[in-house]
């Protein structure tokens, strides 16, 4: 019983049309159907947040969506954060400067969650970011450097007068 559907999804500005099993999770679609392996799978029950992507600009756990639900939607993944010329976003750059990643496995989720939040809330304080990041688990960094990177990115983005 492998029921399939044909879907068209826009990911990082590029359109993909695929025929896939209806039970295929969105995370698996991204990673294995269209080979965007930057989104990571850590738990498949919606706690760790490593699979976080933006669906029509809103963060969501891609392990808790079926690929068919993304039909007609516009997604952003970690691969879509850097500019066309390859230069890192301000947030990515701040992660680099503040050692906001060690093994890098939770990092895609951290970046997507923070990208959404800083876009909508350009002047967060530390408590706000820590509360936000409870939806993303990290076992390596102890979160401190991630929070610092987020606060610094917000500061730089405010200075620049907007979102990169």
């Amino acid at each position: 019983m492998s029921e399939t559907r044909t879907i068209t999804v826009e990911v990082n500005g590029r359109s993909y049309t695929r025929t896939i099993p209806t039970r295929l999770l969105l995370a698996d679609f991204l990673r294995h159907e269209i080979d965007l392996t930057g989104t990571h799978v850590g738990c498949e029950h919606g706690v760790c947040g490593a699979c976080t992507v933006l669906v029509n600009g809103t963060s969501a756990r891609s392990c808790l969506m079926f690929a068919v639900q993304a039909d007609g939607r516009s997604l952003t993944t970690i691969e879509g954060l850097a500019a066309a010329d390859g230069s890192l976003s301000i947030l990515q750059q701040c992660f680099h400067e503040h050692h906001g990643l060690q093994c890098g496995f939770c990092t895609p989720g951290m970046l997507m969650t923070l990208t959404e939040h800083l876009r909508d809330h350009p002047d967060p304080d530390e408590d706000e970011l820590r509360t936000l990041l409870t939806g993303n688990l990290c076992r390596c960094t102890g979160y401190q450097a991630i929070v610092e990177a987020g606060l610094e990115a917000a500061r730089r983005m405010r200075e620049q007068g907007g979102v990169k």
Binding site: P21, L25, E44, H45, T58, Q69, E116, T134
Partner: protein, 290 residues
């Protein structure tokens, strides 16, 4: 942890949806997916058919007036960020900040949380507190029931297998009413071990004119302290009143599991209730006779 195979259906109207639900066996409805999909990935839930509600028109209304009407598919996110709703019914916003995390609230729905009916979930407790009315639809037509009729037992609602929850309706309390919500969870966003919600109105003499207290997480369904609420009408707002309510909360029969004992849960019920009462009274702006 991949889900078992299922037939996928994405109806566009309520009529289509309920027709499918009447025809098919072993069906689950997919709302926000934040509770159902983990269960499917663990294979604790193995529906033969999944009906995706995310494309069904008319299920995500939000109307705020003398009554508040929320479509079952209204995203928790919209509830969180609606200034108008927050003004009319502030306790909803306060409780919602404890519900999961940003990503789960982005997709999670009010109807999904109610139908899942986890004993520790905040939304069912708030609906109980607010005496919400639920409307369900099926091929037989619409049916309305009170939330205490809706929530029957451990993760069990009164919905028939072919009924779709479509709307939740509640009446906001008077502007300026006191409200307080407190819960204890081990970490931010975790299911509450115990929660308490209080709504209170006072007359011009500073006596209780209306009181509602709900405790969640003790019993499979949220518990109102109905008797104690009734006894409080006309009473002056005082430390004694608070302690009476707290004592009643401590009397609620309480579950126990591998992680948390009934005794501790019951103790927390008293603590959370006291805090919720204190917060609600302070917000009321009435001087408490402490």
């Amino acid at each position: 942890m991949k889900p078992a195979p299922f037939g996928y259906h994405d109806p566009k109207t309520i009529e289509e949806t309920v027709a499918l639900m009447a025809q098919l066996e072993n069906v689950r409805a997919l709302a926000g997916g934040q509770s159902l999909v983990p269960m499917m990935n663990f294979r604790y839930a193995m529906p033969d058919h999944l009906i995706d509600l995310n494309g069904v028109a008319g299920l995500d209304i939000l109307e705020i007036g003398d009554n508040i009407r929320m479509g079952a598919m209204l995203r928790q996110r919209r509830i969180e960020f609606s200034e108008e709703l927050r003004a009319a019914c502030p306790i909803l916003h306060e409780a919602l900040l404890h519900v999961g995390h940003r990503q789960t609230r982005n997709r999670g729905t009010i109807g999904g949380s109610l139908c899942h009916l986890d004993p520790a979930a905040e939304m069912p407790a708030m609906m109980r507190l607010l005496d919400a009315q639920m409307t369900a639809f099926s091929v037989r037509g619409a049916r309305t029931m009170r939330v205490d009729e809706f929530a029957m037992g451990f993760m069990t609602t009164a919905l028939e297998p072919d009924e779709l929850l479509t709307e939740i309706r509640l009446t906001p309390w008077k502007p300026g009413h006191g409200y307080g919500f407190h819960e204890y969870a081990r970490r931010h966003g975790d299911f509450a071990i115990c929660s308490a919600g209080v709504l209170i109105e006072a007359d011009f003499k500073g006596a209780v004119s209306r009181l509602a207290v709900v405790v969640g997480g003790l019993d499979p369904v949220p518990q109102r302290l109905s008797e104690t609420e009734a006894a409080a009408i006309g009473q002056p707002i005082s430390a004694k009143l608070v302690e009476d309510i707290v004592a009643a909360a401590g009397q609620v029969e309480t579950m126990s599991d591998a992680h948390v004992s009934a005794e501790y849960r019951s103790h927390l019920a008293g603590v959370m209730t006291r805090r919720a009462m204190t917060t609600a009274i302070a917000r009321l702006g009435v001087k408490a006779h402490v």
